[in-house]
Amino acid sequence: MAHRRKSIGIQRIAAYATIAAALVVTLFPVYWIAANSFKYDIDIFSIPPQWIPANPTSKHYHAAFVERPFLIYALNSLIIAVSTTLVSVVFGSLAGYALARFQYPGRWRYQISFWILSTRMMPPIVTIIPLYIAFNHLGMLNTKPAVIIAYTAFNLPFATWMMKSYFQDLPVELEEAAMVDGDTRWGAFLHVALPLARPGLAATAIFCLIISWNEFLLALILTLTERSQTLPIGIAGRVTQYNTYWGEISAAGFTACIPIMIFAFVVQKHLVRGISFGAVKG
């Protein structure tokens, strides 16, 4: 085991060299999309590539967000992500608390927990066809509520498990003390458990935001017009067989990455718990 041994100079150097290489490999693509979003078309196409934009321009941002409806896509993404997150976190906290604290007859608690987790494992492509047909019947295709409902189905299991695990970490005596002090169980949940689970709530919410913000397949199928299309769909729409609008999609793509990069630093402490419940991938 390397990390149990006494520090050796060479190993240290190798480690730092690896970290440096990993950082370059990790950051270069992100840098590259950012750099290209600020280049004139002619500089994007230059051979050899222009490593640093010589004539920075915001032209593509203007093109995407003013001339083309990327601002609407971004707003749609935001509305859908926030609504999905609200519903998922509220329902997920309630169910997570119930599964963390209450007794159910027989092995029902285990069964229900496992069933909720297993719905998360369904490949989206499997449920999307019936959802498409149902929303078509209800006249809800191309609406934001349809996307929000579909996203909730995929976020709720995760939110429930994540909140369940945070509630289980809280000592149960605190809620019992509140009940003896004069609260109902529900009051103890609202006044004691929920405030104490705030870090967990925040982390769960941010993961839900990220999943919904990034999602592609469901939105691709459920939305056909800009009234409800999200940023990823808008970007994909500018990658056609005949022409790819590099500047525009770089600008939109990099914009889509910005909130994620901010959130990543907020949830870093909760990352392991989040991804082991399968949070990060939509």
């Binding site: 005596e173 019992e176 003390a177 003896v180 002090d181």
Partner: protein, 354 residues
């Protein structure tokens, strides 16, 4: 102020019986201690009074009210938890004032009452701190203050001193006793520490395996144990319990212990019980010796010397004078104090009177 009455109370967890057929009356203003080893059902019994566990069968009354189906908030009890259960996100003042806040007591009255109680438990300088900034003893006081801020019908205390260090525990014990005397509130106190039970209680209920083995004053429990379990559980060092048989009032064990004067009792598998302080070292050649045995070890505790003798397979502890001197394997003759010897039936676990 109220009494607490248990009538045929049963508590099952699945198929496990935690409390079976409990009948107990805690009198008004009484300090009752539920004493027993872990898993004996004492905490469950207390939690049923608080309403934190549902009663499987039977009835619980607080005062004249049957409280089986009453939510905890309406039972008007206050509880001190082993872990203190202080709200970590609230200041000391808000922790103490929480029961008042829930009851929508006006702000200024709340503040006044919190101050009053805080002064009483010497926390007045710490009201703005968070629980994590307090020492163990201070946290304990906050938990206590939160319990006494509204005078409830019943205090419930679940091993409240077990997380304190030994010195602080002795000090808090005295404070608790005084406080209960001052407030005159019925108190149910759970502990596995017999010293706490003996020092605090008006009456002690010794529990084992979901059953009350004996209920009585500390003196009764100590001097007149009704079952083998109580005899072995109470006292430190514990009562010597020697297996043997009784024929026509004479006890003999394989290890060579002999005791007569047990009336005309006949018990095939008997247990003779005698406390270490009721065994006396006799001068050599004494005719009244109950056993002559070699010394296994000698421990000076300060006010006395504990001498352990090897009596066959059993060990016998004797509380001897602090000036006792003896070496390993030295033969010692000891005698039991007359009238301080108990006889139990191994089968029924009950005392055999003679």
């Amino acid at each position: 102020m109220a009494s607490v009455v248990f009538q045929d109370v049963v508590k099952m967890f699945g198929t496990f019986t935690a409390v079976s057929d409990l009948n107990l009356e805690v009198r008004d203003k009484e300090f009752l201690v539920l004493l027993g080893p872990s898993g004996c059902g004492k905490t469950t019994t207390m939690r049923m009074v608080a309403g934190l566990e549902e009663v499987t069968a039977g009835e619980i009354f607080i005062g004249s009210d049957r409280v089986n189906d009453v939510l905890p908030k309406y039972r008007d009890v206050a509880m001190v938890f082993q872990s203190y259960a202080l709200y970590p996100h609230l200041s000391v003042a808000d922790n103490i004032g929480y029961p008042l806040k829930i009851r929508k007591v006006p702000q200024d009255k709340q503040r006044q009452m919190v101050m009053e109680v805080a002064r009483r438990v010497e926390l007045d300088g710490l009201l703005d701190r968070l629980p994590k900034q307090l020492s163990g003893g201070q946290r304990q006081r906050v938990a206590l203050a939160r319990a006494i801020i509204r005078t409830p019908k019943v205090f419930l205390m679940d091993e409240p001193l077990s997380n304190l260090d030994a010195k602080l525990r002795v000090q808090m014990r005295a404070e608790l006793k005084h406080l209960q005397h001052e407030l005159q509130v019925t108190t149910i106190y759970v502990t596995h520490d017999q010293i706490e039970a003996m020092t605090l209680a008006h009456r002690v209920a010794v529990m084992n395996k979901g059953v009350i083995e004996q209920l009585g004053t500390p003196k009764e429990i100590y001097n007149d144990p009704r079952t083998l379990f109580v005899a072995g559980f109470i006292g430190s060092p514990p009562m010597n319990l020697i297996d043997g048989e009784v024929k026509d009032g004479v006890f003999t064990s394989l290890g060579g212990v002999r005791a007569d004067g047990l009336g005309s009792a006949n018990v095939a598998s008997a247990v003779l019980g005698v406390r270490p302080e009721d065994i006396h070292v006799l001068p050599a050649g004494s005719e009244t010796a109950n056993i002559v045995a070699p010394i296994y070890s000698v421990e000076l505790t300060g006010e006395s010397t504990l001498v352990t003798l090897r009596a066959g397979a059993a060990l016998l502890t004797v509380r001897a004078d602090k000036n006792f001197v003896g070496d390993f394997d030295q033969m010692v003759e000891v005698g039991f104090a007359p009238g301080r010897v108990f006889l139990f039936d191994r089968q029924s676990q009950d005392r055999v009177d003679f």
